[in-house]
Every structure is written in C-alpha cells, then in structure tokens.
C-alpha cells in the first residue's frame, strides 16, 4: 500500500521538477526620470515663409517646447542636444538605434515640418530605442501661427504613450494678475498657455476681479467681479469677450464653479450675514438653493459624475469640509483632523479631493479620498491656497503668498504647481504677481 503512495509522490517531484519555471521577482528599479532625446524637427526645404515665423528655427523651437514640457513633469529627462549623433532628417526616417543608445537615451522623438500654402504640416515619431522600434507616429495640419499648440499636442501624445495617462500640455491657465502695493492691489483677469506663454489680459483692472474658473467643456469662464461695487458672479466667453451677470441675486454671489457638464454654475450667495450654496442652470436660468444653514457654506465643487458636491462650512464652529448629494441631501462632514480646512476641489478622476489646510499658522495643500480618509499634505508654506487640478488629475496648481514686511514690502503672490505625489514642486513664471489659478481641460479634445 505505502509503496504506491511513495511512487506517486516521487513521480510528482519528478514531474514538477522538469516543468517548473524559475521565477524571479523584480520589485525595485530606479526612479530616475526617463532619459529621452528630442531631436530638432527637420524643416522641409520646400517650406515657404509665413508672416513673422522664422521658418529655419521652427523645428528647433518646437523641439524646445516639447523638451520644456517634459522637463516640467519631472518624469522625463530630456538629454542635451550637443550629444546628438544623427541629423534630424535621417533620424526621422530610421534612427541608428545603437548610436542613440550610446548617449543613454531610452526614447527618441523625431519629426519634420513643412509650411506650404499657408498651412503647417508637422509629423513626429516616437522611438523605443531599446526595442529598436517605433512606438507611435502622427501628423498634424494647422495654420502656422498655431505652431506652439502643435508642440504641446505632440508632447501630450508622447506623454500619453509613455505614461499611460492623458497629457496636460495643450491647456491654458486662467488666473488673476496682480500689481501695485498690497493694500491697493490692481487685479486683472489673465489667461496663458500652461507653460506661461501667450499671456492675455481679459479685464482692464478697473474693478476687483477674483476666482476665475474654466468651464470643463468649452471656452467659458465664470468669475467674481466688483463691477459697480456690486460683488457678483459673472460669465465670460473668452472667445467673444461677452459677459453677463449670473442670476439676479439681491446680494453678493461668490465662489463660482461649473458643473462637470458645463451647464450649471454652483456658487455661494450671501444674505444677512449668512452664505448658502445655490446652482443656476445656464440654459433654463432656473436657480436652486442647495444648502440652508445658518453657517457659512461656500467653495462648492461638484464631483466629476455630478452626483455629489464637496463644500466648505463652519457649521461645526470652524471651517471644515463636507460632502453632500447634488440636491443638498445627506450632508456629511469629512474632515476631523487638527486644523481647519477650506477650498475642496474634486479631482477630474473622481477619487480625490484637493484642499487647503490651515494649522498652527501654516498653510498646506493636500489631497484626501472623497470620504476624508487618506489625507496627504503635499506642501507647507506661510500662505497658499486654492488648488486647481490638471485635466488628467496628476498635478495641482495653486497660489502662494509671501510674508509682507512694513508697508507691505517683500510681498508677492505667485502660481506654483505640484504633483499629487508631493514631488516636483515648481513655480510658474508669470510677469506679474498672480493668484487664483484655474486649469482648463485639454483644448484639442
């Protein structure tokens, strides 16, 4: 009897020995940014001039924008061009992979462009240098003056291909440009490309303007203005420049934001010392009251599915964050930690809420899950607030103010961005002081 059993056991061992595969777990690697070479785009010699565009430098300039975008992510390390070994046109046809590998690049971007009949045609290829193959290739046609956007769109496509995540380069940021002494600030609405280029001012600075926010679906903006000393929420079409007051409220309306479908504006309305949250449907003009509480309820922000609203209330005595259904029911407090909380903003992915936290005289930007758990503070400073999400939910932009000395000396307000990992904090360069940033959706969508 027993012998049978042993025979079976022995057989088992043999079988498994001959067919078992060695497995090795790789749980570590380097977290250095991916080395990537961005070859200048080859300019077709048949290209014609167009207005003031310097055609010869265009290929170089586009590649520089792509490089700068990559660098700003902290995920890629664009390599220096003087080490490049191949001419752009030849590399674009088929790179000598082993040569590019020599400079330790793992990916390569090549491309070429042509301006003809007032049309700019750009194509690019992304190469995997270790696999010696093309990863993606695309071509675009547009008016030549759009060349910067082409560079951003290429950056987005490459970013998406290499990270698996949508890019955020072909986007804009609307903000408040500030100038003048601290107690007599002049504030203007301003808009710029995500990389700081193409700054345009949308108001003249005659009246105080605050908290502009993009519509996630189109080129509309909502903001607050003190036009004629009546603090109200406005709607502005940045394409046509037309603007209108939102609703007919008998008092201050503020803290506006669009619903994710872009059809409603949610905001606070203050009356007799009490602020509550309202929505207005932009199509039907129907106004709905969402909260009815004797405390301050403000800074509302919809979840991306439109089903919930996060907001800021001091009904417990101090500013805390709350979440409720979009009809105002089922209000739940989500912050119980030390300190006070403001400006909740729901991430476009829906999984996180970004916020401002104040504790012991310091200000933090952080993220937490939508039930308030998993709080992570990303950055601490003397004063900072008002986070706004990049469209892919990976980066936050916010503004930071410095401490002012006697008569406001040394005061400045600047825009900053940080990864939701807490890494890669950087200042956005703006000519003037800046605050209240809001990140647009991808323009090319």
């Amino acid at each position: 009897m027993r012998i049978f059993f042993y025979i079976i056991l022995f057989n088992l061992i043999l079988i498994n020995r001959s067919y078992s595969l060695i497995e090795v777990d790789i749980t570590r690697g380097n977290l250095d940014p991916l080395p990537i070479a961005v070859s200048p785009l080859h300019v077709d010699i048949k290209s014609e001039g167009y207005k003031d565009i310097k055609i010869k430098e265009l290929g170089d300039n586009i590649s520089k924008i792509i490089e700068r975008n990559f660098k700003s992510t902290g995920l890629f390390n664009p390599l220096k061009k003087d080490a490049f070994v191949q001419k752009p046109d030849i590399a674009h046809l088929k790179p000598r992979f082993e040569d590019w590998r020599l400079i330790k690049a793992q990916a390569l971007v090549t491309g070429k462009l042509l301006i003809k009949n007032e049309k700019l045609k750009v194509e690019f290829r992304l190469w995997d240098l270790t696999a010696s193959k093309e990863m993606t290739a695309l071509a675009f046609t547009t008016t030549p003056s759009n060349w910067r956007r082409v560079a951003h769109i290429i950056s987005d496509k490459i970013y998406e291909r290499l990270t698996g995540e949508e890019g955020y380069f072909d986007t804009r940021i609307i903000f408040v440009a500030e100038s003048g002494p601290k107690n007599q600030r002049v504030k203007k609405l301003a808009i710029m490309d995500q990389d700081g280029a193409n700054v345009k001012y949308l108001t003249l600075g005659n009246e105080l303007v605050l908290t502009p926010r993009f519509n996630p679906t189109n080129q509309m903006v909502t903001y607050m203005s003190y036009f004629r000393n009546m603090p109200r929420v406005y709607l502005l079409d940045i394409e046509t420049g037309t603007q209108e007051v939102v609703g007919n409220f008998p008092g201050m309306t503020f803290a506006p934001r669009f619903s994710p479908d872009g059809k409603k504006i949610i905001m606070s309305f203050a009356k007799d010392g009490n602020s509550d949250i309202y929505t207005m449907n932009l199509e039907t003009r129907v106004v709905e009251r969402i909260t009815d509480h004797s405390s301050i309820d403000t800074s509302p922000s919809f979840s991306p599915d439109g089903k919930y609203i996060a907001f800021n209330s001091d009904r417990s005595g101090l500013q805390q964050l709350y979440v409720m259904r979009s009809d105002g029911s089922n209000v739940k407090r989500i912050t119980f930690g030390k300190g006070i909380y403001g400006t909740p903003v729901w991430s476009p992915r829906g999984d996180l809420i970004a916020f401002t936290k104040m504790h012991k005289g310091r200000f933090y930007i952080g993220v937490m899950r939508t039930d308030g758990s998993g709080e992570r503070l990303l950055t601490e400073n003397y004063y900072q607030e008002a986070p706004s999400w990049s469209p892919n939910g990976r980066v936050l932009v916010f503004y930071r103010e410095t401490k002012a000395g006697e008569k406001g000396k040394g005061f400045s307000a600047k825009l900053w961005s940080i990864d939701i990992t807490g890494y890669n904090e950087r200042k956005l360069s703006t000519k003037t002081d800046a605050s209240d940033p809001s990140w647009s959706s991808l323009l090319s969508k």
Binding site: L208, M252, A270, S275, I296, T343, E385, A386, D436
Partner: protein, 164 residues
C-alpha cells in the same frame, strides 16, 4: 522694636518690592503693547480709525474667525447710531473685512457676516435697514499690509462709510 516686629517689617518690605517689580514688568508689557493695543485678539487701538464725526469712530474690530461684537464695538456702534439718528438724510455702507490668514472665498463670507453684525446692531438702535447697505471685501482691502498679528487685528474690521 522686638524681633518679631523686625521680621514682619522685612516681609512687608519684600512684598512691597515684589509689588513694585510686578508693576514695572506690567508697565513694560503695556508699553511694548502700546503700538499693539490688542485685547486678546481684538484690536483696541486708534491708529487706523477714522471718524464719521467728532467722537464717532467709523469702525469696529473683530477676533480671528469671529463676527461677534465686543463691548467696545457696541459702544462705538451706539455712537454711530446716535450720529445717524441726528443725520436723517445720511445713508451708509458697512464694509466687512477679514485678515489675510484665511482662504479667499471663506473670507468673503466672513466679511459679509461681520458687516451684517454691525448693521443688525445699528438697526436695534432704531436705524432703518434701508439706510444701511452692506458689502464684503474679504481680505482684498487690508488697511495695514504688513504680515503681523497687529496688522491682522487692524484688518479684521467693519467700516461704516457715508454714501451721500
């Protein structure tokens, strides 16, 4: 003078010295606070104050994150009410303000709440609500731009401004 008396004299002297010392320290404190004039968290000084009429200060101050009126604020507002009763044709706007240590949107609401606290008090003293409009500037218009507890206390205010 016996020994016991001597002892008591000594302790008395000691106590006296202590009292003098304490007074000195206190006065030193109050001189240091002279530019400050903060009671708890509320500004009590006169540095930034303007006047609607002689003896009628135009503003009252608040504690951090609060909109309740202090005893001093109430006294000031009673003077304003008396002044407004005398000038029946005068309308006013009450501007509510907050300090820079809060988020912009919340501060707008807080400023509104402070201005309304002042307005409500004036109304209980017989001033018609129609004569008083309210506007909040949040933290947008600091009177003192410095980043210090003193200037923050000066900025947490509601100011009554004549409109006509």
């Amino acid at each position: 003078m016996n020994l016991g008396e001597k002892m008591t004299l000594k302790t008395n002297l000691k106590n006296l010295l202590l009292v003098i010392f304490a007074t000195l320290i206190l006065s030193a404190c109050s001189t240091a606070k002279k530019s400050g004039d903060i009671d708890g968290d509320v500004y009590t000084g006169k540095e930034t104050v303007e006047y609607l009429a002689s003896g009628v200060p135009d503003r009252v101050f608040f504690a951090t994150n609060k909109s309740s009126l202090t005893t001093a604020s109430r006294a000031t507002l009673r003077k304003q009410a008396t002044f407004l009763r005398k000038n029946k044709n005068l309308n006013v706007t009450i501007e509510g303000h907050a300090d820079e240590r809060g988020t912009r949107e919340y501060n707008l609401a807080l400023g509104e709440r402070r201005a309304n606290a002042a307005r409500d008090y004036l109304m209980t003293y017989g001033i018609s609500g129609k004569r008083i409009s309210v506007i909040s500037y949040g933290k947008e218009k600091p009177v003192n731009p410095k980043s210090s507890p003193l200037s923050w206390s000066q900025n947490r205010r509601s100011v009554t401004v004549k409109v006509n």
